[in-house]
Amino acid sequence: MASLPPIDLPSNATGSGAFDTPALEEGPALFEYLLRLGDDSLILGQRLGEWCGHAPSVEVDLSLANMALDLIGQATHFLNQAGEVEGKGRDGDSLAFRRDVLDFRNCWLVEQPNGDFARTMARQFLFSTWQKLLFRRLTGSKEETIAAVAEKAVKEVTYHQELASEWVIRLGDGTEESRRRIEDGLAWNWRFVPELFEMDDLAAFMAERGIGADLAALRPDYEAQVAAVLAEATLQPPPDQRPILGGRRGHHSEHLGHLLAVMQFLPRTYPDAKW
């Protein structure tokens, strides 16, 4: 068989096809990494804000709203920096309010609906335990903003973790009903934990450059801390379920779109509104 003639590639052709993974570049990768950090905090902050005025007691109402404030503060810093790195004139507000659901890079855990108070606390416990370990690691990041926000926020997140752990213990070691509810809450959120430790190409790329954290390395500490609290709460860890991944690449549960509809309605309907 005669060999086919060589293909003349146009001089502007890319080196990869539509189904190849393009090579990572530091600028765009850092932008994506900042979105991951910022979107986790933003979406969980919005979720906790939904409790405002609905919590079981005024003290709990305040604590949930205050955690939400801390998280939204983190998100503001991370997303403002993401806008800087991107260099297209977007700031934290435009990234928060004018991106569509597929462009969000948060993990699945934070977008899960609040459910009852126990499920909210289970989610907070599983997330804050992870976020504290992550931020402690990121205080050594070579990216100045990430290191500065992590240094500042790690103190606040320590508080979140303590608060959530105490509630897990109180509910687990409480009445029959509180125990049933926290068991259900942990079981609901458990399948979203493996995603927190997923090291995809981008996470590895950032970790190699000393900017991001090696998430897999956080896992032993995480498991030990979770196990200790569950033991004190006299709870068994839920059975492992098939992990759900994809949030970091924009694949989300249907819940995120509904959350964004509420969060983004006003700035999208009245652009640049001030009050």
């Binding site: 902050g45 003290e59 305040l62 604590s63 205050n66 955690m67 939400a68 404030l69 801390d70 998280l71 939204i72 503060g73 983190q74 503001t76 810093h77 100045e144 903003t145 290191a147 500065a148 926000v149 240094e151 500042k152 926020a153 103190k155 606040e156 508080y159 303590e162 608060l163």
Partner: protein, 151 residues
């Protein structure tokens, strides 16, 4: 002469900042709260207390207004996140004013009731009226009070 003028301006800016109250706890100034990190001719560096403190923007605006009113429109306000603010930076006067205002100042020792001074106190809630405070109760005089959390 030039050096003296620069010194004068720094001192004058400090005096202006001494009069700017914290919007959430107006009993103490932003200087006593420890959020003013540097004052130089033409430049003031501040740091937020908590990452999500809703007063952060108000504080910056209040400082701007005070500087403008005093004729220091050319002085820039910069925000630095690192090193992170800590309650250790609240001055001794600031702590005394907090106590007089009814807020127990941050402490790593036993928490004393700002009303009666008793150390027989207990925490009611980890979060109080603002992110920086927790809610406590005095067992001696039975009054509730805010504690400025160690941070």
């Amino acid at each position: 002469m030039v050096a003296a003028a620069r010194l004068d301006e720094t001192a004058a800016i400090r005096a202006v900042l001494d009069e700017v109250p914290d919007p959430e706890i107006p009993a103490i100034s932003v200087v006593e709260l420890g959020i003013v990190r540097a004052v130089e001719p033409g430049r003031v560096v501040i740091t937020p207390t908590y990452t999500g403190c809703p007063a952060a923007q108000v504080i910056e605006r209040d400082i701007r207004d005070a500087l403008d009113t005093a004729g220091y429109r050319h002085v820039r306000i910069e925000t630095a996140l690192s090193p992170a603010w800590t309650t250790d930076w609240i001055s001794a006067e600031g702590r005394a004013k907090l106590r007089a205002y009814g807020i127990a100042p941050p402490t790593r020792a036993a928490v004393e009731c700002p009303q009666c001074g008793s150390a027989d106190t207990e925490e009611i809630s980890r979060f109080g009226s603002t992110p920086c405070k927790s809610l406590w109760r005095c067992r001696a005089c039975a009054e509730p009070f805010d504690l400025f959390k160690c941070h």
